[in-house]
Symmetry: C2
Subunit: 276 residues, 2 copies
C-alpha cells in the first residue's frame, strides 16, 4: 500500500518520549501539524515549549491524523486501543512506544480494524520524566524496535537518528526482560539492601552510585511493565539467580576469570551497538 | 606524638591511585619531594607527566620518607609490608590504598614495628588504569576511609577534597562487600548473561549500558579483592540472592511498591553523601 506523506501527527501522551518524538520529527524536517492529546498540565507545558502546535481531545485528533503516536503508560495505551479505531480514517497508521509489546500487539490485533497498528519501542529514556525533559536528540544512536516493517515509519525513525530493529513481540519482551527489566529489579534490590545497611552510604564509591541509578525509577512506570511481562521477567530473574549461585561457588576458583572475560565481552558488545 | 611536617613522600605503585594522590598533594600545596617506586614503564610515564620528582628503589625511598603511600595491588601491598619495616625511620607513617583492609591491617600489625601503619581506602576510581589517567581531582568529594585517626594524614586527605571516615577493618570490609564488591559481581553476571543471549545487544538501552559498566573491569584487580574478602563477599551475595528470591515472589503484588520506595531512598542517600 502506498500512503500519502504524513501531514498531521498526533502525539497521545505528551511526556518525555512523546514530546521528544515530536521535537525529533520537527528537527528531522517534518513540516506538518503536530497535535497533542494529553493532560492539561502536559499540554500547557508542551504548548509553552512549542513541542506541539495545538491540543485536541483524542477523538478529534484521531479523525484528522496520518500518524497517531501512543506514548502513554502501558495501561493507558491499552485503554486507548480499546476505543480509538472508530475515530480514525481507514489506513491511518497507529504506533506506540510502550515498553512491553505482546499485550499491546494482542490488544491492537483485536481492536484496530480501520487503522493499521505497528507496535514500537524506542530504546531511549532519561531518569527524569515529563515534557519539560523532552529532547530532540533523545533517540539518536539508539535502537528503535518495530513489531513489523513500515516504510514511512522506518524512514522517519532513521531520520531522527535511530536504528530500526524488527522483532516479534514475544522475542522483544524476552530480550527486554533481560536487558531492561532485570537490570531495574537488580538495581532495586541493591538499593534496598544499601538502604537497610547503616553506614553503607559512608563508603559508597562510583560502583554503588552507578548500580543504583535505576533504583530511583518510580514504581508506577514499572507496575505496568511487570504486569504485562511477568512471564519473561520471572524467567530472567530465575536464570540470573542461578548464575549468581554458580558465581558464588567459584569466587576463589580460576574459572572466575573466564566469567569476567565473558562479561566484559558482553558489556563491550552493548557499547559497540551503542556507538553505531 | 607530634610529628614534623612531611618533606619527602614516597608513592609505591605509581598507577591511577598513587599518581592521583601525588598530583592531588601537589595541587593542595605540598612543596616537598615526591619519590616514585614502581615499574620502569610507570616511572617513565610518571616522570614525563611530572607526577613524581624522582624514582628510587623501595629501600632507598623508604629510608628518606616521612610518608610512604602503598598504592599497589593488594597482594603486592602485603609483600611490601613484609619487607619495608627495617628500612624506614622510626615513626615513619606508612599508609595504603588497598580495596580490602582486614588482611592488610593484620599483616601490618605483625610486620610494621619501627614505622606506624594506618590502613586507608580512598573510595575513588576510574574505569581506566595507569598513571596516564592520574587526576589531581580524583579524590574530590569522595569518602576516604582510614582504619585509625592520624592528624596529619587526615589534614592532607581533607586538603585533597575528600571526607575522612574512620572505620574498623572488619566493618570496612563488610560495608564494601555490599557497596563495591557485590555491585561488581552483579554486573559481571549480568554482562555474562547478556553475552550469551544472541540479540540482546540489539535492544539494549541505557539500563543495560549502566549496569554493565563494571563488567568491563579486569579480573586481575578483582582476584586479590576476592581472595582477601571472601567471607563478607559470600555473605553479601547470599543475602542478595535471598532478596532477589523475595522480590521474585512479589512481582505482581502491591508490596513491591514499598521495595521500590526503599530502594529509591537508599539510592538517594548514596547521592546525598556524594554531594557533600
Amino acid at each position: 500500500m502506498v500512503s500519502k506523506p504524513w501531514s498531521v501527527v498526533s502525539i497521545v501522551g505528551v511526556g518525555l518520549i512523546g514530546g521528544s518524538f515530536a521535537l525529533a520529527l520537527r528537527k528531522a524536517g517534518f513540516r506538518g501539524k503536530i497535535i497533542g492529546v494529553s493532560s492539561t498540565s502536559s499540554i500547557e507545558a508542551a504548548l509553552a515549549r512549542r513541542v506541539i502546535d495545538e491540543a485536541l481531545p483524542l477523538r478529534d485528533a484521531a479523525g484528522q491524523s496520518d500518524l497517531i503516536y501512543l506514548s502513554q503508560p502501558i495501561e493507558r495505551i491499552l485503554q486507548t486501543l480499546e476505543e480509538i479505531d472508530p475515530w480514525v480514517f481507514p489506513g491511518t497508521l497507529i504506533t506506540d512506544a510502550g515498553s512491553t509489546k505482546a499485550a499491546i500487539v494482542q490488544c491492537a490485533a483485536k481492536k484496530i480494524r480501520r487503522g493499521r497498528f505497528v507496535g514500537g519501542h524506542p530504546m531511549a529514556g532519561k531518569q527524569s520524566r515529563g515534557v519539560a525533559e523532552a529532547d530532540a536528540d533523545l533517540f539518536q544512536r539508539r535502537p528503535y524496535v518495530l513489531m513489523s516493517p513500515d516504510a514511512e515509519l522506518e524512514q522517519w525513525i532513521r531520520r531522527i537518528g535511530s536504528r530500526v530493529v524488527i522483532l516479534q513481540p514475544e522475542e522483544h519482551d524476552r530480550l527486554v526482560a533481560l536487558t531492561s527489566h532485570l537490570p531495574q529489579l537488580i538495581s532495586t534490590v541493591l538499593g534496598s539492601s544499601i538502604a537497610r545497611e547503616r553506614g553503607a552510604a559512608q563508603v559508597a564509591g562510583p560502583a554503588a552510585i552507578d548500580m543504583t541509578r535505576l533504583a530511583m525509577s518510580p514504581y508506577d512506570v514499572w507496575r505496568d511493565i511487570l504486569l504485562t511481562n511477568s512471564g519473561p521477567i520471572d524467567h530472567a530473574l530465575t536464570e540470573f539467580i542461578e548464575q549468581l549461585e554458580e558465581l558464588r561457588g567459584m569466587l576463589l576458583r580460576p574459572e572466575l576469570e573466564q566469567k569476567f572475560e565473558q562479561a566484559a565481552a558482553g558489556a563491550h558488545a552493548l557499547r559497540g551497538v551503542e556507538l553505531l
